[in-house]
Subunit: 88 residues, 3 copies
């Protein structure tokens, strides 16, 4: 019974070490990109979320529509940029 137990324990230990030093899920990080379009709306690509928006003509008034679209609210705005992030 000694050898059985020790073999199983040893293999378990190796498997745990393997998992801890080489986890199946790779280290995640945040990646962001900017999407700039003409007009007052700019949408993020699928799989990304809006973390902030920028607007033409110095406008700092914006809102996010449906999680993925930046909307600049000033009456005079020539471009809108969505800052879009996701985990990679």
């Amino acid at each position: 019974q000694c050898s059985l137990d020790s073999i199983v324990n040893e293999k378990m230990k190796q498997a745990l070490i393997h998992l801890e030093f080489n986890p199946s899920a790779p280290q995640k990080k945040i990646s962001c990109t900017s999407i700039k379009t003409s007009g007052k709306l700019s949408s993020c690509p699928a799989g990304t979320v809006v973390t902030g928006c920028a607007c033409g003509y110095a406008c700092g008034s914006w809102d996010v529509r449906g999680e993925t679209t930046c909307h600049c609210q000033c009456s005079l705005v020539d471009w809108t940029t969505a800052r879009c992030c996701r985990l990679t």
Copy 2:
């Protein structure tokens, strides 16, 4: 000793496959929401962080107080929106 080794190896393999395809931690993603309030301050819910702020009257000057509160700095600002994100 052959059967012992092969049985343990096989079970180890199955366990590793199980862990890799069904990791206990579900796939994380970023989720964001906007909190809009009257005045010059807007705070994110507990567990979220400010990634950006928007201000009324076109104001683009803001700072973040204490990790979770947006503060719009212009003298004339009627609303403040905090963009609040977290991992889910």
Copy 3:
């Protein structure tokens, strides 16, 4: 064969429980900080990404250069703040 199988199964079960309740990777969350500098450019520290920018003189027009630097576009801007986030 009964004892071999049951011993290995039991140890596997324990190992899986151990991994699920004490995952090697600690729970990740988003952490953000603001970097404010004089002028029209502000850069995030290594390992962080820009999620949004703020500018002096009410300016809401900005872009992100090279993933880590906020650039305020208005002609009159005395400070730039980069909102910088990462997983911790």
